[in-house]
Symmetry: C2
Subunit: 324 residues, 2 copies
Amino acid sequence: MQEYYLGLDLGGTKILTGLADKNGKILARSRKDTEAKLGEEKIIANMVASIEEVLAKKNLQAEDIIALGIGSPGPLDAKKGIIIENSNLPWKNVPIVEKIEAAVGIKTLLKNDANAAALGEKWFGAGKEVDNMVYITISTGVGGGAIIKQELFSGVNDNACEIGHTVVDPDGPLCGCGNHGCLESFASGTAIARMAQEAAAEGKSKKMLDLADNIVEDVDAAICAQAAYQGDQTAKAIFAEAAFYLGIGLANLVNIFNTEMIILGGGVMKSADLFLDKAIATMRDNALPGPLEIVELREAELGSDIGLMGAIAVAMEDRLIKNG
Amino acid sequence: MQEYYLGLDLGGTKILTGLADKNGKILARSRKDTEAKLGEEKIIANMVASIEEVLAKKNLQAEDIIALGIGSPGPLDAKKGIIIENSNLPWKNVPIVEKIEAAVGIKTLLKNDANAAALGEKWFGAGKEVDNMVYITISTGVGGGAIIKQELFSGVNDNACEIGHTVVDPDGPLCGCGNHGCLESFASGTAIARMAQEAAAEGKSKKMLDLADNIVEDVDAAICAQAAYQGDQTAKAIFAEAAFYLGIGLANLVNIFNTEMIILGGGVMKSADLFLDKAIATMRDNALPGPLEIVELREAELGSDIGLMGAIAVAMEDRLIKNG
């Protein structure tokens, strides 16, 4: 009998669901709007509709599916299957696993999105050949997930590897978490946008302002990148600043996890040529020789499928470890 | 038949060897000078003499011993049994496991001292009741060892958990490793001594200078502590500075390891009342709520036996995990 798995990537604006065979090959997909503003019941109904649509596409029933994996922004309690909070979804303490299992009758597993992405890159992406890796996403925020001896390192209550909220300079900028100088406050899309808006407001970059039709609040990381590609020195300096702190964060990871591979993903990596070389050079300057000599840095391979492939890897994790 | 284990704590000035039963109870001890200056062969001869002395005390032979654990400062390659380098011992790339096994005929295992101490506190000290913990030693340097699901997390080549060399402020002081702003450069005995000497040289603390007979180079962390206990404001401020950065380092550990317990040991902890409260407050300010709510901070319990008990735990690790 064919083995089928489902993955569901729960985002603030869209729900992506995929059906995969036992090798992680996607056989069918569905995409629905999250409709977050319509509240908890509607979001869950949209998730269920997405799952049902993907099953219908291959004429499958719930009993044909071994497991469903959900990747969601956190914080969440993966073991209890509860999403504790979510800045993009208007809910608190939602027992999502229980609700989805009740609605569709498929065994359901939950992980935070960065951990799911780490599993995705481990089993289907850049980390296929290694047993130990750390995945870092550089996106709106900075998140991470570590694989140790093939297994996801979740920590005691699913909060491990919050690399974005390690402090790399206590005198640094205010972070969304309320502290100062977290890695995320220097090297995320949000941080780059903040620096770019400040520079634009201070009249330091006509180019960025111009690209944003002179609306300072519309200057974001993408505009900063575009300006940098067009030679704007201020924009380039902003990426250099982010790169430096990213390099410090990477060195700290090297010294703590002593891992085989660090994989970098997330939206900001689309402009990797603006900052990655400097980040790597800073990492090499700051990491200890012992752990540095065995670590390899790679870009994520799953691209826009990372959320979906991560969720599928969550569904398959037990099987993958056994056969890995 | 009784099960016996040996532990050997290899230090720059002394070699401590202990014989333990299967419960980790020390039955006999030996102490020898390392005589580091006399070179590799002499150091190894002293280790062997120490082992033989402890066996003789209980009238035991090599074949009565299940395993010998060695704890040594690193960097080292535990799997290969090689001490790569050691700032206190005049050797490089010494295949210590092979040499000791050849000399005494006992199965030998090697770990770096901080990792060994982590195992010691896990199995015989403050961490007995938990499966996940991080041990931090605040001593000449700052070192660490993490236990994940009862097992020592060694990393790919025995360099995991080098928390002392994670950067907490890139503009910080020069560290022994060559970088700036490592945790060790703010919150070790060496860092406290450096700050105290600077203050004494600038005439900011007559008390510290007085305690050092006006020899600036003799001002060390112990003198700084003594001055602080006697009310010297400069000395107190130095401990407060170290405490702040220690707290940042602890918060980063909490956010990365999401562990049940952090255990603090090492010589500087003898003056814990000068800095621990502030370090804990800073940790609480900077860690995320999720991992913070489940972590407990404890002082190490093994005191001056930590090196020896750590080495014994190294010898016993396989047995302890099986029976733990």
